[in-house]
Structures are given as C-alpha cells and as structure tokens.
Point group: C2
Chain length 111, copies 2
C-alpha cells in the first residue's frame, strides 16, 4: 500500500524514550550485529547495507539490520535503491550513558 509522502518510504524506529536496555543488549550480543555496529562506528557516517562486509547471506544481513533498527541501535532510511544506516549514538548515549562506548571499546580491544 503506497503511502502519501514526498520523501522515500519510511521505516519504524523506536523513539529515544522507548529504547529498552534488554533489547539493546540483545541486539549487541550477536557477533554479526556487533560487527555492523563496529563498522558504523568506525565509518562515522551513514552508509548502505552493502557497504558493510558480513560473513552471511544477503537475507540474513537484512535480518540483522532490522534487529538493530528495531532495538534502536541504528537508524535506517531509504535513499534510492539503497538504505542508509547510521548509529543512533546520541539517543543511546542519552538513555544509556557510557554503554555504547564501553561495548565498542571492548569489541575493538579483541583484535
């Protein structure tokens, strides 16, 4: 069903106040998703799904991006045939101060 809007198709994101700690932790507890978050944090800009190399199939990749979005970890918006992904750093820092940085630091320290 086509929605009337000037911009591209929209995707549902939880608001800043709706972020749930358990959901965020669960989203971050998967190696593939953690890899996505690391990549987005390193790039520090919005990139397409395909810009992140993952060791899984395309459909699985889509699945993981959706989990991250629904948990409120990333923001996604359509742009042409692509979908841009960005870390919701501000929202995460506001609701769970220090959490994202601690996870990123821990994830990076293992290489």
């Amino acid at each position: 069903m086509p929605q009337q809007r000037p911009a591209a198709r929209q995707l549902d994101h939880p608001g800043r106040e709706e972020l749930r700690l358990e959901a965020v932790l669960h989203a971050l507890s998967d190696p593939v998703r953690l890899q996505v978050v690391r990549a987005l944090a390193d790039l520090d800009e919005e990139v397409a799904c395909s810009a992140v190399e993952l060791p899984v199939s395309k459909s699985t990749s889509t699945h993981h991006f959706r989990v991250l979005r629904e948990a409120g970890v990333i923001a996604q918006c359509y742009y042409g045939t692509s979908k841009l992904n960005g870390l919701r750093r501000d929202d995460l820092d506001a609701r769970f101060p220090g959490l994202l940085d601690a996870v990123l630091a821990a994830a990076r320290s293992r290489d």
Copy 2:
C-alpha cells in the same frame, strides 16, 4: 567468607581472559538475569541464590544463575546447603572497562 571447605564441590568458571563480550551481553540481555545482577550489585556481598527474589520457578532460577556463571558475570561457590553468588566486578572491569557500570546505571535509571 571462610572458604576453607574440605574439597567442596567446585564449579567451572571462565577465566578472566576467557570472557567473551557477546556471551556477557547475551547473559545481561534477559530481564530475569539483569534483575539478578542488579540485586548482587546492590547487596555488594556474596549471597545465596534464594536471597534474590525472582518471578520464576526454582529450576528456572537455577538455569539463569548458571548462564550468568558460564558467561563469567558471577562467581558461585557452594557453602553448606547454599550456593553463594558474587558479581565478578574486578574481572568484568578489567576486560570490559565501564561496561558493567553502564549497564547497572541504565538498569537502575528505569525505576
């Protein structure tokens, strides 16, 4: 805590260097387990499993304590008919600096 038991039953714990970020995040992503961790952090001493009130059955409770132990979040040791539980604060802080505090702060801020 007089741990001088005559070869009391021992439990397996991952060493500090064996802690895995994903496992810890997963362990903390369950509401019941998060409640346990909060309680242990608040009490700040080793307590028996039964000292933590949980909204689940005894067997389920045992299950969650085991998940936390195997992820390296808590330490457990038998003491008489009880099993004492303690947060592995030092190990967690050493491997994942700031993570536990961020999670605890976030968990507490929702009441």
